[in-house]
Subunit: 363 residues, 2 copies
């Protein structure tokens, strides 16, 4: 399928696989002969039941989720989870947070409503994940954001905690871009709107033994044990978003790239995309990415023009070249290219070509 | 536009206007020349900004929402709001709940996590809204569910409270089917999945003076004041669901029926649909609706076959006749026809024709 669509580098909600959008459009008035749009189906009917079941099965297969983890389809996004996690896991006691950027900083602030929060390490204004963590033996859990969307900082490997507290990982902006080492995780959560599907769906992976610890003040609709006991149907789930997510899971399963399939294929493609873009930025004296090589994100690449007076013309010319939403987050400035799973290699090639041409014209 | 689609009587997620589904499909890969699906747009970009602004403007116009009410686009559904409302409004003090069916009973139970809840009146196993309410002068608010989806019980007029406490109305399953008398309401909320759009979007209408009362334990993402201060963008809103809702609002605005337009047209059509269906049920000795005429719902019509042994064959023959999802809620049994805004008059005519034919065959 050839496409004249521009390349969309939005940090989220973000680009989706074009074949998925075609299928969603084609099935809009009649899903599989049911006579209904997925939006119109009772969540308790057999049609939607089959959609939910397939989505969970495919997701489990892609990420090799162990049987002792529950997969929950929830609402509220990452910011909602910043409260929902401590409501469920903190027991009102101690929570350690490793701050590696804007998102983990927000998580720490919100958890203070419910727990004694300690910042175990803080990247501050630096660009390298600190290695020295002050962890408390009796913390209810340790929170990390494994990919900082705004700052472009990613854990290339999950930390291995040895002091007994479970690791809680906010995987919002890189889930399904690489495997997850479940032996190192107690709970992982992520908003769908980067790598999975439409905004309004939140995925939670929670180890069985962490269920049943919620505070009495935890709303039933956000109580992991309640949601798990009702197969994500305690309240009406975001059915259409789950349907789109399921199609994205199938799209990943069907991928073939560099001799690899499925999640391994998408990971290799992400590695290649990131190498291409960082390579171009590093080779130039005109652009700059400041993140330490040990923790550069494969998904979100913030960069700066050394001459920031050119920012506006850069964005205008990029848009004219069919490269959309490259403006950096307002808290950071500069540019940011989000190159999530659904961004094809051709999109990064086009961006790199534009970077070089823009430098040639204005450098 | 003619259609061979069956008629879908689901209680929610429910039927949507067919022209809306066509438009959603047509715009799936490229919204208004943006080169993006609405699902792929940054919520902070100008494209989605214009969608959100138009949706709120049209909604305010349709329901004549006064300027001193804020309109919030949230997540979590009615069950989420059962906690979010007391977290925001109860001040940990007294809440009075009028129980008229399953939903208000659930609301009362959930509010007990945060407040001293009193049942001010209870319909019990009856079918008529009680008129004698034991209200406390110092309650933080009085909660009612103005349309009980499961029980088919609707307030035909909002109660006028005179003791000073604001009224909180769960309008989930009849919002936009009729006007709301805002002089009688402090807060109204509703999940979108009946009359508005896809599941995963929750609308909240809150009077300005009720902002700023949240308990410290209220999650930021669900704090009305925070959500209002950020124009529903504190967390990433369910953008695609808001887009579909906006198209539904435009569809209502463009309606013309019995010489009426917009909300008056949809209300008249709902009156006619309900009169047709209740009339057919009442005229028959074969079917029965048990709700008192003073509070029969225009949206949800539960009914029973007097010979319940015929239930399965009724459902099978209905489905074969293109009449879907007529099974009653498991807690009530029997049948239920949900005839929301998007159900055309022809759907109710088809159902009434089927009721008569089925009775003729099996009565």
């Amino acid at each position: 399928m050839t496409s004249a669509r521009p390349f969309n580098f939005s940090a989220g909600p973000a680009v989706l696989p074009e074949p998925v959008l075609h299928q969603v459009a084609a099935e809009m008035l009649d899903w599989h002969g049911s006579g209904m749009s997925v939006m119109e189906m009772s969540h308790r009917g057999k049609e939607f039941g089959s959609i939910l079941e397939a989505a969970e099965r495919d997701l489990r297969e892609l990420l090799a989720v162990p049987a002792n983890f529950r997969v929950l389809f929830m609402q509220g996004g990452g910011l909602g989870e910043n409260a929902i996690v401590p409501l469920n896991l903190s027991r009102g006691s101690k929570v350690d947070v490793v701050v590696t950027g804007s998102w983990s900083r927000k998580s720490a602030a919100e958890a203070r409503r419910y727990a004694d929060v300690q910042i175990a390490a803080d990247i501050g204004k630096g660009h390298k994940i600190p290695t020295d963590w002050a962890l408390r033996d009796d913390a209810a859990y340790v929170h990390v954001c494994t990919n900082e969307t705004i700052d472009g900082v990613e854990f290339h490997e999950l930390p291995q905690l040895t002091h007994g507290a479970p690791l809680v990982a906010d995987v919002s902006s890189h889930v399904l871009s690489r495997p997850i080492d479940w032996s190192r995780v107690g709970l992982a959560f992520g908003g769908a709107q980067k790598n999975i599907g439409p905004a309004g769906l939140t995925l939670v992976f929670v180890r069985d033994d962490l269920l049943g610890r919620a505070l009495d003040i935890c709303p039933s609709a956000f109580n992991y044990e309640t949601v798990a006991a009702n197969q994500s149907m305690f309240n009406t789930p975001p059915t259409f978003a789950i349907y789109v997510a399921g199609l994205v899971f199938q799209w990943i399963k069907g991928l073939d790239y560099a001799g690899k399939q499925g999640l391994a294929a998408i990971e290799q493609r992400n590695i290649d995309k990131a190498a291409l873009l960082y390579g171009a930025l590093d080779a130039s004296g005109f652009y700059e990415n400041r993140v330490d090589a040990s923790c550069r994100s494969r998904m979100n690449v913030p960069f700066f023009l050394k001459d920031e007076k050119l920012n506006d013309v850069f964005l205008a010319e990029a848009k004219a070249a069919g490269l959309l939403q490259l403006k950096g987050h307002k808290s950071v400035g500069g540019m940011r290219a989000s190159i999530y799973n659904a961004m094809p290699l051709e999109g990064v090639q086009a961006l790199v070509g534009f970077l070089k041409a823009f430098e040639a014209r204005h450098g």
